[in-house]
């Protein structure tokens, strides 16, 4: 229901200074390669997730001649007063909402919800398990309040436990203590991921039936490294850690937990990453991202859901493209970066902006 009505970028990628008024609905950013289309989407994505949608390191987002970057936006919430979001990354990070400092990232993330469709999304299917965990984590951070906090606590506890394993001598009592904390936050993360799966699977199968004519059955399964079923999560987790403690000590690393889990994706009963064609893998990764949109849309009182679409439409045939556009057109604000206006978009109202060497102007 809300939308970003104004954005300012300062020293962000190839934008030394940009101020732009935006409108709800679909906006197309057209330009030649290397002009700053993706960088603009990245700026919007950063405002939502405080991380790069291209998985670049935050320190690489600033203009290379500058020592800081800033993003400022005005969120028009339609029925409520406007909200001013400000992000500054210099020597220190500063986040503020309506001028009030926000101390933790988890209080800032999720004010604007987002889903980004990027060419590298194919890694969700073909890449290592960390891509799939990241996909689940980004979705859950926006979907369930508290998830990001649990994940951060889990990661800190995991690093602490691994440090103790590296130290090696006389560590059993300390490991007992950190195991308790690891299990507490690990179970919060696991439970959220396990609970998400049926909803995600349902959204995926609905999208498949809308976007594809042929037989295409995508099956998702969460491969849990600590417990076979969700009922005995805590006790199985504890047993697993205890069982593997000597092995963990030997290799000086924690072998089980949500950080080792995977989302298994099968197409028509067979592993997609092993047996799927390039086209099937691309299409499946796009469906997974579109399923995230389906899940984020019905969230109560959404402040704003923005969709960032970078160069992924060209890979779809006409039927799939129309179905995809129908799904994403429901976002509060949709930003499409492209070299040419995609076929199929003529069915919708959209506004065109021209991007040229770090400048954005409204097309006439």
């Amino acid at each position: 229901m809300g939308f970003i009505s104004r954005i300012q970028l300062k020293n962000f990628r190839n934008y030394p200074e940009l101020e732009l008024d935006l409108e709800p609905g679909i906006s197309v950013f057209r330009g030649r390669n290397g002009q700053g289309k993706t960088a603009f989407l990245e700026g919007l994505g950063f405002l939502s997730l405080l991380r790069s949608i291209r998985s670049s390191h935050t320190r690489h987002l600033k203009n290379w001649q500058s020592d800081h970057f800033g993003i400022r936006a005005c969120l028009d919430r339609v029925t409520r007063p406007e909200l001013d979001l400000n992000v500054y990354y210099g020597e220190k990070r500063q986040l503020s909402l309506d001028g009030n400092r926000v101390a933790t990232t988890s209080d800032f993330i999720g004010v604007i919800k987002s889903v980004a469709f990027m060419p590298e999304d194919i890694e969700i299917v073909k890449g290592s398990a960390s891509w799939r965990r990241q996909y689940l984590d980004i979705l859950l951070s926006q979907l369930s309040p508290g998830y990001l906090q649990s994940l951060k606590h889990y990661q800190k506890a995991l690093k602490s436990r691994n440090q103790i394993l590296k130290r090696g001598v006389n560590v059993d009592l300390e490991l007992d203590v950190w195991d308790d904390i690891l299990i507490q936050h690990g179970c919060e993360v696991l439970q959220a991921r396990i609970d998400l799966l049926p909803r995600l699977s349902q959204a995926v199968s609905q999208l498949v039936s809308k976007m594809l004519k042929e037989d295409f059955v995508l099956d998702l399964r969460y491969n849990n490294s600590v417990a076979k079923n969700a009922e005995s999560l805590v006790s199985s987790y504890r047993e697993k850690l205890y069982e593997n403690r000597e092995r963990d000590k030997l290799y000086k690393v924690t072998h089980q937990g949500p950080h080792r889990d995977d989302l298994q994706i099968n197409l028509n009963g067979r592993s997609l990453s092993h047996f799927g064609s390039e086209g099937q893998c691309r299409l499946s990764s796009l469906i997974l991202k579109a399923a995230a949109v389906e899940l984020l849309l019905p969230v109560e009182k959404p402040d704003c859901l923005i969709l960032l679409i970078d160069d992924v439409l060209g890979e779809l045939d006409e039927f799939s493209r129309r179905a995809f556009l129908k799904c994403v057109s429901r976002g509060d604000q949709v930003f499409i970066a492209c070299t040419e206006i995609p076929v199929g978009l003529e069915a919708y109202d959209y506004k065109v902006y021209e991007v040229d060497e770090g400048r954005v102007s409204t097309a006439v």
């Binding site: 508290g146 690093k159 602490s160 440090q163 009592l173 300390e174 203590v177």
Partner: protein
């Protein structure tokens, strides 16, 4: 370009190295100190000098004491010596003391367990706590370490050690501060307050 004499510049830089003080603030403070009468200045210098020589950590609890004596709290015979409250930092002891709600003794850890920063049990004041509890027949130890996960880990570690010796341990309550508006409390504090609710 250096405007101040070298000695004065060094004083500014030393003051600026204190927590929470920037370069401008340090300059202001240095100028203020310079304007003091000689007697006040000398007294201040002697106080700083005596910090190194006369102040020690109390050998029983780790709080400040003068010379090699016990601190005023440990040497107060009216305090309940079967009850010990464990805090991370010296600065947290006066905070609890000012509340007037605690009449036992204290134990300052001088840190918390932090594997990521290489701080283990032997780097903080834990051994002396265990020994002290055994020697003095302590009945209960209240763990008032921080609420972050390292503070939690420190509290659990101490609890495990002391429970093995048959000594009771408790953790201070966590949740909504007195006088705080529920509307502005963060989710984690509310969750903690709900989980540790009590019957009326």
């Amino acid at each position: 370009m250096k405007l101040y004499p070298d000695q004065f510049q060094q004083a500014i830089e030393t003051i600026a190295s204190l927590p929470g003080i920037g370069k401008k603030g340090a300059e202001k403070l240095a100028l203020a100190i310079y304007s003091w009468p000689e007697s006040k200045l000398k007294h201040f210098a002697s106080l700083i000098d005596s910090m190194q020589h006369d102040l020690h950590n109390c050998e029983q609890c780790g709080f400040f004491s003068q010379k090699d004596l016990l601190c005023p709290i440990c040497s107060d015979s009216k305090r309940n010596n079967e009850l010990i409250c464990v805090v991370e930092q010296v600065s947290q002891l006066p905070v609890i003391e000012k509340s007037g709600s605690f009449k036992g003794l204290y134990h300052v850890l001088h840190g918390k367990l932090s594997p990521m920063r290489g701080i283990g049990p032997e780097d903080i004041n834990i051994d002396s706590l265990v020994q002290r509890c055994k020697d003095n027949h302590v009945h209960e130890v209240i763990l008032a370490t921080a609420t972050d996960i390292e503070g939690q880990a420190t509290a659990s570690f101490i609890a495990k050690l002391l429970n093995e010796q048959g000594i009771n341990t408790t953790r201070i309550a966590q949740g909504i501060p007195i006088g705080a508006d529920l509307n502005y409390a963060d989710a984690a504090s509310i969750a903690m307050a709900i989980n540790s609710r009590r019957e009326l």
